[in-house]
């Protein structure tokens, strides 16, 4: 009987011949990622009582959640992290000038096919786009890995989502993942390893694949997976830090569920307030007035996304009733967007450019909406209060749909 990706990689990493779903294994992750929460993790690490971390080279820290700090509390938080990094001599620390962790880790070569990465952030699933096994963990767990180098994981059951056909005009990976989440619900893949496959995935760019893996978290998935191919290899070339061995599912692997999506039938989608699975075709929301538009985040802040938005904005102006915020996901992307003239297009259109980081996505700073306002965003989460005001409403959509709404003032 064939094995799924999760079964194969967890067996390999645990040093076992084979594992079965719901078995608990102990593994040493290749990397453990944390961000602004590293200060809180360092407190938990200190509570354990050890003087030194188990392996400094296993730890990657990226400051991204509130950069530059919005007030003294945030700046003290960053200061505490910098001091810890210095004390522990951690080699892989990225300060406020790198970007969002989920973009920075692949860019800086920490992500590769067959890697096992645990991150103290729910969207750690993103690295599945490169054929890695990556899952979110909590702060105490990150501290435990800092102390011992290892963690327990339960072997998940697996779902396969097969994607066929080609996107119709103006539809994109974001529309696909919103459609899937709308269909199966916010708990539709709870605790599952979700393998995306099929011609539709093979045709997608790495940027697009990352959107799917990123938002797999929003259907409850433990991790996402896509088979690495030439595109993966090309993207990683010159970045990845060491040789790697690709781990792939067997062709006769057994899946708990197989879903099939045909891109030929996919319309543009929007997730309505206040849950990510409250998804409707954009068509049904035509005319919904918006006050703020956001293009960026770890979901849709890459060059392909900025390009799609710039195409719409070129030669147009942001509606006078709308504030458009644009955040590239990393400085590498920011630089490329400048070279390509995308940033100039955004400025000409009247957008506000924000430095790479999580920005207003989690309501910490840089564009908290007022009560009663409606936001359309390319982010991955629209929970009540997510952007800082429980009385505001958040709609989630693709860069194309958000850019259209920014110039017309309404969802189209």
């Amino acid at each position: 009987m064939g094995k799924t990706f999760a079964e194969k990689i967890l067996a390999a990493k645990a040093g076992l011949d084979e594992v079965i779903p719901s078995q608990i294994v102990t593994i040493k992750p290749d990397y453990v990622m944390s961000h602004d929460n590293s200060a809180a993790i360092s407190d938990k690490f200190k509570a354990i009582g050890l003087k030194k971390v188990y392996n400094p080279e296993q730890i990657v820290i990226v400051l991204d959640h509130c950069v530059p700090p919005a007030d003294e509390k945030y700046s003290k938080n960053h200061q505490k992290i910098r001091n810890f990094v210095k004390d522990q001599e951690l080699p892989y620390f990225f300060d406020i000038n790198a970007g969002i962790c989920h973009q920075v880790l692949p860019e800086k070569g920490f992500v590769f096919p067959g890697a096992l990465i645990l991150g103290s952030d729910s969207h750690t699933t993103t690295y599945g786009a490169f054929g890695a096994f990556s899952a979110g963990i909590g702060r105490s767990e990150a501290a435990a890995i800092w102390a011992t180098g290892e963690m327990w994981l339960m072997v998940p059951e697996s779902y396969k989502i097969e994607v066929r056909g080609k996107f119709r005009q103006n539809a994109s990976a974001k529309d696909l993942i919103l459609k899937i989440i709308g269909d199966i619900g916010a708990d539709g893949a709870l605790y599952k390893s979700v393998e995306f496959s099929g011609g539709g995935i093979e045709d997608m760019s790495i940027d697009s694949r990352m959107i799917l893996a990123n938002m797999a978290a929003e259907m409850g998935a433990k991790n996402a997976y896509m088979r690495p191919d030439n595109k993966t290899e090309k993207w990683l070339k010159g970045r990845v830090r060491s040789a790697y061995i690709t781990i792939e599912p067997d062709n006769d692997a057994v899946y708990e569920k197989v879903l099939v999506y045909d891109l030929e039938n996919l319309d543009r989608q929007v997730a309505c307030p206040h849950t990510v699975d409250n998804v409707k075709p954009a068509e049904e929301l035509k005319g919904t007035k918006i006050d703020q538009a956001l293009i960026g985040t770890c979901t849709n802040g890459r060059v392909e996304d900025l390009r799609a938005a710039a195409e719409i904005l070129k030669g147009n102006k942001v509606a006078s009733s709308v504030r458009l915020l644009v955040l590239p996901a990393s400085y590498e992307i920011y630089r490329d967007a400048i070279k390509e003239g995308l940033i100039e297009t955004f400025i000409e259109a009247g957008a506000v450019i924000i430095n790479p980081g999580c920005g207003p996505c989690l309501g910490a700073h840089e564009g908290v909406p007022a009560p009663g306002e409606k936001v359309i965003s390319t982010a991955n989460r629209n929970f009540k209060g997510r952007m800082g005001s429980p009385e505001s409403e958040i709609y989630l959509a693709s860069p194309y749909t958000v850019a259209r709404a920014a110039i017309t003032g309404v969802i189209e």
Binding site: I24, D36, N37, A39, A40, D43, K44, A47, I48, G49, L50, H65, C66, K73, Y74, N77, G119, S120, D121, S122, T124, G136, I137, G138, R139, S140, E141, A143, A144, A147, T148, W152, M154, G185, A186, D187, L190, Y191, G220, K222, T275, D277, L362, G363, A364, R381, F383, K384, G385, R386, G388, P390
Partner: protein, 165 residues
């Protein structure tokens, strides 16, 4: 271990942003202070009425969303002794165990229990009693039970690395 508790009853998909708003995640570090904001964007009355030992009963996918451990921590420090739900998000499940807050998964429990009743949870037997009857739940796996018994992951690791006997 048996817990008899008054309950707070909630629906499906109670997410981490309503349990503990993101705006506090880097500014509040004291767990007792976290408890003051528990359920703030879902049920502002929760912190006014919750008392030590109370339970939460909910529908499916409780704790979905962020990896933020404070969602579990704030509930534990507000006095919650157990959460019974139809299912939990994976990260909330791990965070609760790692905070020493026991969880039980009972089919359709959100529909079986009424708002103003008491529940009784027997962890050894794996039985939850309420007015609608007695319901079995799968006991926690041994590896996980060890963490809960130690009072959470940090004390568990302290023992493991030899900081405590």
């Amino acid at each position: 271990m048996t817990i008899k508790a008054d309950i707070f009853l909630y629906g499906d998909d109670v997410n981490t942003d309503v349990i503990f708003p993101g705006k506090y995640t880097y500014t509040i570090t004291d767990p007792n202070e976290m408890a003051k904001h528990a359920m703030e964007d879902l049920d502002p009355d929760f912190v006014k009425t919750v008392k030590a030992g109370d339970a939460i009963v909910a529908g499916k996918n409780f704790g979905c969303g962020s990896s933020r451990e404070q969602a579990a921590t704030c509930l534990k420090y507000s006095g919650v002794s157990v959460i019974a739900a139809e299912s939990f998000s994976r990260l909330f499940y791990r965070n609760a165990i790692n905070s020493g807050l026991p969880l039980v998964v009972v089919k359709d429990i959100g529909k079986k229990v009424k708002k103003s009743e008491q529940i009784e949870v027997d962890f050894e037997k794996g039985v939850l009693k309420c007015q609608a009857g007695e319901f079995n739940f799968p006991p926690l796996p041994n590896e996980v039970l060890g963490i809960v018994k130690a009072g959470g992951l940090i004390p568990y690791i302290r023992k493991k690395v030899g900081m405590e006997s």
